[in-house]
Symmetry: C2
Subunit: 328 residues, 2 copies
């Protein structure tokens, strides 16, 4: 195949668009797609400060690279989950990336901030690791963004992620989740704007970008991902995509364009009010937010079972460590 | 496993409901499900005459059996598609079933009524066989029902069919099709009511019913079904169902309950007016209906290519043959 732009030998095929590109024009195409998404959904205005949630995987590393290249003022936020060597290597690669580019990085170590790592939290609460991990990450991201004065939190969610979440929400018709499916969730009181600039790019396309840009990234999957429902949905969509290229993109884009507005309007009665959590002051739909409830209970449990020494008191503030860019 | 009703050895498991039944109570459960669907959606009032579309496959045979057992006044309609031996055997099994029960049967032979069988129609129009076959069957069913004074046309669509159609419509967000997804399509001028009493029962459950009732049915799949998109969707749903029993049912039921009303309301502006086809007088959204356009064009083509001898004139009336029940 030949590059759709210059006619030279192509290196990457984008099958869903029936195109292929040489390395140089692939990078141009990829960054153009991100730029278009940011512009079309008004994700960021010039001069806005962005906190990039960086796990160290290909998606978040590629996202940080692109936003940095576009000239946005970015800082990274890495949450140390405490999942053994996997998390050690994730932190390592994230720090390396930040240092190489001279970018600021916040690190929240869950074990230091809250005294438990994800595997212990899952065990104590008897919930799936992915569920308590997601809950914790969303809380920490938002709180660091608000307290450190960022205008937005950017996450590396890609087309495969977004289409598989949509499929799960559609299979069970989760109305509350369906109306929060967009690539931009606007800011509210003590709730930073959340944006997903890579939402129209596939895992494969992002991988090609990180390889061509020679970005460091963590190759391993999280050991808890195995057996997750999201993998079932991704597998189903991958099979459909193979038979009908473009399926994922149509599924997500047409939903956001044609259906989400109708559902948001028609289901408006179901929308819930946000109030301040009695414990931490951050937004919640109940009295005490899910983050405070989950962690408070887990710590009480850990104390009762004698798993933690000394005084055990839950304190919601994430206390990030800040790594300022080196002067280089 | 034991029968959920009597505790005897179970013969059929209904995994999505976490139950199993002995043969006797399975039949009772199955027919109860159909009765509930008919009642819940007010599909049929007492005394209404039902035309059952009978291909001869397990679904339509089971449907006719159940409606007959419930005491409805039924007649069968079999459409001879002219797909070689497959269609011959389909007619044979349908006639046998009707004769054994002393039930009236209408037969429309496409080749006799319109001079072309489905394979030729597909070839001449260069369309997929499933597409022109579906279009033709819907037209003939409705026209026979209206002209012979039936209150409703019942089809054997099952949960797998309905869920896979919904998945296809959702993946492409076909808004017009999405608001016509229900198990009852109400009657309009020259449009018979259409009902799907088996819409909440799976293929597997219907197969178990036909086997336990020892009903004759055609085992073969239509040779044109291979490679159809509906099979892709069914395969995807089967994999999800295996991992999460109940997925198909939730997907379809919750859609009909929570989402369809909202979409029907919100997308109302897109609804189209029906007018009488200039050619046949039956409802259409254009000037000439898709059935008349398709067949008229195919016959003109066939004539031009010298494929049909004698005078070739398209005449939309399906001219059914009527097999009255024998006096037995």
């Amino acid at each position: 195949m030949k590059c759709a732009v210059c006619g030279r030998k192509a290196a990457v095929e984008v099958r869903r668009q029936g195109k292929a590109f040489c390395p140089e024009h692939y990078l141009e195409w990829f960054e153009g797609q991100v730029k278009r998404a940011i512009r079309r959904h008004r994700m960021l205005a010039p001069g806005e400060r962005v906190l990039v949630a960086v796990s160290g995987g290909k998606d978040s590393i590629a996202l940080w690279e692109v936003l940095h290249r576009f000239g946005y003022e970015t800082a990274g936020l890495h949450i140390q989950l405490g999942i053994g060597d996997y998390s050690e290597r994730a932190l390592e690669v994230t720090r390396r990336f930040a240092e190489e580019r001279g970018l600021p990085l916040y690190v929240v170590d869950l074990k230091e901030a809250y005294r438990l790592a994800i595997p212990e939290l899952a065990e104590l609460t008897r919930r799936r690791a992915c569920s308590v991990c997601g809950l914790t990450k969303r809380y920490v991201m938002n709180r660091v963004a608000v307290e450190e004065g960022f205008d937005a939190v950017a996450t590396g969610h890609n087309l495969d992620d977004e289409a598989s979440v949509l499929l799960g929400n559609v299979l069970h018709w989760q109305t509350d989740a369906l109306v929060r499916q967009g690539p931009v969730l606007p800011a509210k009181e003590k709730l930073a704007k959340r944006i997903k600039p890579l939402y129209l790019l596939t895992e494969r396309e992002i991988l090609a970008y990180t390889l061509l840009r020679r970005l460091p990234y963590q190759h391993e999957e999280c050991p808890f991902a195995q057996g997750a429902k999201s993998l079932l949905y991704k597998d189903a969509l991958n099979r459909l995509e193979a038979a009908m290229p473009g399926t994922k993109q149509t599924f997500l884009e047409q939903y956001l364009k044609k259906i989400e507005p109708v559902l948001a309007e028609g289901l408006a009665a179901e929308e819930v009010e946000l109030t301040a959590c009695e414990r931490c002051g951050y937004p919640t739909t109940g009295k005490v937010c899910a983050f405070c409830r989950t962690w408070d209970r887990a710590l009480s449990f850990a104390k009762k079972k004698g798993k933690l020494a000394g005084e055990v008191r839950f304190e919601p503030a994430p206390k990030p460590l800040f790594f300022a860019p080196s002067a280089s």
